[in-house]
């Protein structure tokens, strides 16, 4: 039973991990704590829902659109509301992203109402049985997507010029500017990329949980905690932190009490901060 629960926790954990990854990416490149990160996930979910369920478009067409649209929204929000406050007092920046969160989540609520929607699985078929553990195909898709995405992002950041620009800007914005890097453009593209990653998380999560307009903030807080547990600023830390939170959630929900699920997430956060404040995988700038 333990392994069964842990495996199904990994699937949700993968989604948290991706959200945390995008969140950390924005923090690293722009020093912005983006409270609207969860809303990019919700946008992707609703785009997928509308195109796939309502309009009946095939998945191969729907998935890229559902990732692209949050990326565009991310790019646009950076240009319009985030750029003017980059470098301002932290409280101002936080307030702007909270304002953004309110706008995006309420727009979703106006369009789709407050009720939850169910989304069909991305892949049909009976659950597989691996070493006596029943694994739904859906979970395998999620895990595989995360691995592919993580490897792809690693390649992107190490080998491509965009990735190098992104890393240069996160290491030192001033120096990057002196080296001839267009910092503003890089930050905007970083926003688009991280919103796109959140979009992938949204597409993967949609069949696992019910899609609803109010999901953004809870998802954000989960992945925020995941990022801190993993070591804030570290990409690998964000991924592992997300997985840990997903698994822990499931185990606590079953073995202790589903009412106290959230309490335990927060307690783990406080415990990690007390015992190992730099996180599990400390980030070195």
């Amino acid at each position: 039973m333990f392994f069964q629960l842990a495996t199904s926790g990994i699937a949700t954990g993968c989604a948290y991990a991706l959200i945390a990854l995008g969140f950390v990416m924005i923090w690293n490149t722009a020093s912005v704590v983006n409270f609207a990160q969860g809303e990019f996930v919700v946008i992707a979910m609703f785009v997928a829902l509308t195109c796939h369920v309502t309009l009946g478009w095939p998945l191969w067409l729907v998935l890229p659109i559902a990732v692209l649209i949050p990326a565009l929204v991310g790019y646009a929000t950076e240009r319009v509301v985030i750029r003017p406050v980059i470098g301002a007092a932290e409280m101002t920046v936080v307030t702007v992203t909270i304002g953004l969160q309110i706008v995006l989540s309420d727009a979703a609520k106006i369009i789709y109402g407050g009720q939850p929607y169910s989304f069909p699985p991305l892949i049909e078929g009976r659950p597989l049985s691996i070493l006596g553990i029943v694994v739904p195909r859906q979970s395998l898709v999620v895990i595989a997507s995360m691995v592919v995405l993580a490897v792809g992002l690693h390649f992107l950041s190490q080998k491509t010029s965009f990735g190098k620009r992104l890393r240069a800007v996160s290491q030192d914005r001033e120096t990057a500017k002196l080296m001839g890097i267009d910092v503003n453009r890089t930050i905007a593209e970083g926003f688009a990329l991280s919103a796109g990653i959140a979009g992938v998380a949204g597409v993967l999560l949609a069949p696992i949980i019910y899609v609803s307009a109010g999901l953004g903030l809870p998802l954000l807080i989960k992945s925020f905690i995941a990022a801190i547990i993993g070591g804030f600023g570290s990409y690998i830390g964000a991924l592992i932190g997300g997985l840990l939170i997903g698994v822990l959630d499931n185990l606590v929900g079953f073995y202790i009490s589903s009412h106290y699920r959230e309490v335990f997430t927060f307690l783990v956060l406080i415990l990690v901060l007390l015992v190992r404040p730099q996180g599990l995988f400390p980030h070195h700038r």
Partner: protein, 326 residues
């Protein structure tokens, strides 16, 4: 400060004279504005003056409300005993939360305080034996006062207004005191403050304790006003709302906190004809205020004056203006 005196005087006069003529619903709104103003002031102490972000003030508000409510409903304690106990208990919780604040600032502290607020709310839902869970606590009595019945909302309004006046006085004294200066010094530069002989740890923790105590006081006032409590009134949204009140009004300004509470509480009511769209528009307003008035609404006057002075300088480059310097 002196320049604004007519405005402040008019606002105070309006706060005293107008409420008896308001409708029941408007009166309810202004009572809530006053209670939230006390809460916002408590947040302003640690965030505005101390630079420590807290998104968990609903937690203190909850502890204050529930303590006073439970003691008076189930133990039969009078308000004048249950309220100080509520303050004492919230102050203790502020002490607990003050220690993490020693080590973490910025977004780390924001998450820790979110965690605190959420744990408090989840426990109030799940500890049914204590809080009655989601069914809540009902028939909380109004505070007894010899000669005056606080069951009338107009009287209760004046009661909370006097409480607010007391808290404003307290805050003004605190901010002007050595403690207030130490707090602002820490906000500007912690290391430099420590070098000047300021005990950073004691100052930060005391700021948290005082802030929590004031929030607990607001909680008690709320519980005995609304007379029914359930965990819904203390969600993360409430913490965010208090934070917004402080930021929109103006961080580090007492008048700003009160203005912010008024605007944030009353604006949704003004926007109500827009129905579903009002929360969205509220979000847009928040962003616009931050983009164009990062000092909050309270800075509107000085920003406009600086703009006008700059314009005058442009028109007449011979004459330098002193306005922009002040």
């Amino acid at each position: 400060m002196s320049r604004h005196h007519p405005f402040y005087l008019a606002a105070i006069l309006a706060a005293i004279v107008i409420p008896p003529f308001l409708s029941d619903y408007s009166l309810h709104l202004v009572i809530m504005v006053v209670i939230f103003a006390i809460l916002t002031l408590s947040l302003n102490l640690i965030s505005g003056y101390g630079g420590l972000i807290s998104l968990g003030h609903a937690g203190f508000f909850l502890i204050g409300s529930y303590t006073s409510a439970l003691l008076s409903v189930y133990q039969g304690w009078p308000f004048w005993l249950s309220m100080p106990t509520a303050i004492l208990l919230t102050a203790t919780s502020g002490l607990l939360l003050g220690f993490p604040a020693l080590r973490w600032t910025g977004h780390f502290l924001a998450v820790i305080t979110i965690a605190f607020g959420s744990i408090a709310q989840l426990l109030s839902v799940n500890w049914v034996f204590l809080t009655n869970g989601i069914d809540g606590v009902s028939s909380i009595p109004r505070p007894p006062l010899p000669g005056i019945s606080l069951t009338s909302n107009v009287n209760y309004y004046y009661f909370v207004l006097i409480c607010l006046a007391f808290i404003v006085y307290l805050m003004m004294r605190l901010v002007a005191s050595g403690f207030g200066r130490a707090l602002r010094a820490i906000k500007d530069d912690e290391t430099a403050a420590a070098c000047m002989g300021i005990d950073v740890a004691v100052t930060k923790v005391s700021a948290f304790v005082i802030s929590a105590a004031i929030a607990g006081f607001a909680g008690a006032l709320y519980a005995h006003y609304i007379r029914f409590l359930n965990p819904d009134s203390f969600s993360l949204d409430v913490s965010i709302r208090i934070f917004m009140m402080m930021i929109i009004g103006g961080t580090g300004s007492i008048a700003g906190s009160i203005l912010g509470s008024f605007v944030v509480y009353v604006l949704p009511e003004v926007l109500r004809p827009l129905q579903d769209y009002y929360y969205l528009i509220w979000g847009v307003i928040v962003i616009l205020v931050m983009l164009f008035l990062p000092g909050g609404l309270i800075s509107l006057g000085s920003v406009l004056r600086a703009k006008m002075a700059a314009r005058r300088d442009k028109l007449d480059p011979q004459v330098g203006s002193t306005e922009t310097l002040s």
